[in-house]
């Protein structure tokens, strides 16, 4: 813990993440205007007291839209990551522990997920079962699942071969207790890093899809969608594209800084995976 406190990138990343999460949680209280309210008389108004970043092509408050956008971006990314955590960790660990047939099936599923390029997959799923937030989350989850499943499996495999697992077994520990009490705490630091980096990735991916108009219904204040709206007037009013772009940039940076910093801080003490 002390090492983490002294690690600059962890603290900076964590600081930004806290600010962004607070923005997302208190978007309702912080935003000066309704992010969805269209008022054509306010089109392209200059920044002012009541409209801190001005209004967009439909007269909606840009600042409020950015705050609410944090909700969508973070919310969806967390949803995808939680889905991945609760599916990959139990199944990956169980697959390694059971071995043989189960492990092969698990790896096949991972391979299927990894073999399909995410963009193609998302477009295909959207084409077949229709547009919508649930479908977007499902298809993102599906295309990321294999990568994380494989990582969980390899972490577990490394730990299961270690002496303390043998020792626990000789002490009469059951299979579940070995996995949950012995192995899980040891692979946890590695997984935190993995999932922190993954959140940054997912935010980018979801913003990318809504930039393409996939997933979220139009008009929602998602950062990628806002970029898409600003695209048509990029030369006349570039600031409308810059604001959401900066937001995505800062958020992804914050999660990556946090993840990278964690990795370095934990690798020094011999915990986690050292890539250097």
């Amino acid at each position: 813990m002390r090492r983490l406190k002294h690690n600059k990138s962890v603290m900076v990343g964590l600081g930004f993440i806290t600010i962004i999460v607070l923005c997302a949680v208190f978007a309702g209280e912080l935003s000066p205007n309704d992010p969805m309210k269209i008022n054509m008389s306010l089109r392209f108004t200059e920044p002012s007291q009541s409209f801190p970043l001005g209004a967009d092509a439909y007269g909606r408050c840009v600042f409020s839209r950015l705050l609410y956008g944090a909700r969508y971006s973070l919310g969806l990314a967390f949803l995808v990551m939680i889905g991945i955590v609760i599916t990959t960790i139990p199944s990956g660990m169980a697959a390694v522990y059971k071995g043989g047939f189960f492990e092969r099936i698990f790896l096949w599923l991972c391979d299927i997920s990894m073999a399909l390029p995410p963009t193609v997959l998302v477009l295909a799923i959207m084409g077949v079962i229709g547009n919508g937030i649930a479908n977007l989350v499902f298809s993102t989850l599906f295309s990321y699942w294999g990568w994380y499943g494989r990582m969980v499996r390899s972490y577990t495999q490394t730990e299961l071969a270690k002496g303390y697992v043998t020792y626990a077994v000789t002490g009469g520990a059951s299979g579940v207790s070995v996995l949950v009490r012995q192995v899980l705490p040891n692979i946890f630091p590695g997984l935190i890093i993995l999932f922190a980096l993954g959140i940054g990735d997912t935010i980018l991916m979801i913003s990318g899809y809504s930039f393409l108009g996939i997933g979220l219904p139009s008009g929602l204040p998602e950062w990628g969608a806002m970029l898409n709206d600003a695209k048509s007037m990029l030369l006349q009013a570039p600031q409308y594209a810059i604001y959401p772009g900066v937001c995505v940039f800062i958020t992804v940076c914050a999660f990556n800084l946090f993840g990278e910093g964690m990795r370095k801080a934990l690798a020094v003490g011999g915990m986690g995976v050292n890539y250097e």
Partner: protein, 270 residues
């Protein structure tokens, strides 16, 4: 079978389906309060014997036949759910590399609690107090501090003692000591050996002592079995093995440990 016999291994054969050591037809018995020393070079199959007794061998990778009886109960074909009741409770284990044998993110206290809680329904507080008492017995008087420590904060010798304390915590009938002194320096080796003989006197379990070092084995064992390439070459009481070795390999081992005059070896045509 004698009623004092704790562990009886009959015709134990282990065949690795890929490659490696094969154990062929091992037979031995250990009585209450007795120590059987299993000596042999690396790769002779000593650890495989331990793993077979503990049920640690992967049934998909090995073929096991024969019988292992612990107090008249056949334990070789047991499944995991029954195994869990025996390992730790009736069989205590001391492994060789104590630095690697403890979970790095669990305090020593948690290791005690895990072991005790798996087999007895006792509270965490009782487990800790009992653990401190055991630590005092194995020569770690500041039990409170040891209990609070993480494994990396203790030395190898201390961890080995903690492991012995955990092994005796449930008063097992059999202790398997797989190279208990190998990873330690000479001073600590002597201390651990002394401790083990104290345990033998105090608790009177049966002990299977595995080592490649003739010195260690002769210090503790009542009977000695010499293994090479998965076979028992020679087996008998300590006195017999020490003073009247029949096989050339035993003589070599004794000579290398300085327990036999070099000239004796030469004279016997080696």
């Amino acid at each position: 079978m004698n009623k004092d016999t704790i562990l009886a291994v009959r015709d134990l054969s282990v065949r690795y389906l890929s490659t490696g050591v094969n154990i062929e037809k091992m037979t031995f018995e250990i009585g209450r309060g007795k120590v059987l020393g299993l000596v042999g070079e690396s790769g002779s199959g000593k650890s495989t014997v331990c793993n077979a007794i503990l049920g640690l061998l992967d049934s998909a990778a090995v073929q096991i036949s024969g019988s292992v009886r612990l107090q008249d109960k056949e334990i070789l074909p047991l499944f995991w759910d029954e195994r869990e009741k025996i390992n730790g409770k009736e069989i205590g284990v001391i492994l060789q590399n104590s630095m690697a044998a403890f979970n790095p993110c669990m305090r020593i206290r948690t290791h005690f609690i895990e072991t005790l809680y798996t087999h007895l329904l006792c509270s965490k507080r009782d487990a800790t107090l009992y653990g401190i008492e055991l630590l005092r017995k194995v020569g770690l008087p500041d039990g409170q501090r040891v209990m609070r420590s993480y494994p990396y904060q203790l030395s190898g010798g201390m961890l080995q003692r903690v492991m012995i304390a955990i092994a005796i915590s449930l008063n097992p009938v059999l202790i398997i000591a797989d190279e208990p002194t190998t990873a330690l320096d000479t001073g600590n080796q002597a201390i651990i050996l002394e401790l083990l003989s104290f345990i033998m006197k105090e608790y009177k379990p049966a002990m299977l002592l595995v080592s490649h070092d003739m010195d260690t084995v002769t210090a503790l064992a009542d009977d000695i079995a010499v293994m090479k390439d998965g076979r028992v070459l020679e087996q008998g009481t300590k006195t017999k093995i020490l003073h009247d070795p029949q096989v050339g390999y035993t003589k070599e081992l004794l000579a290398s440990a300085g327990l036999m005059e070099e000239t004796d070896c030469l004279r016997s045509g080696m």
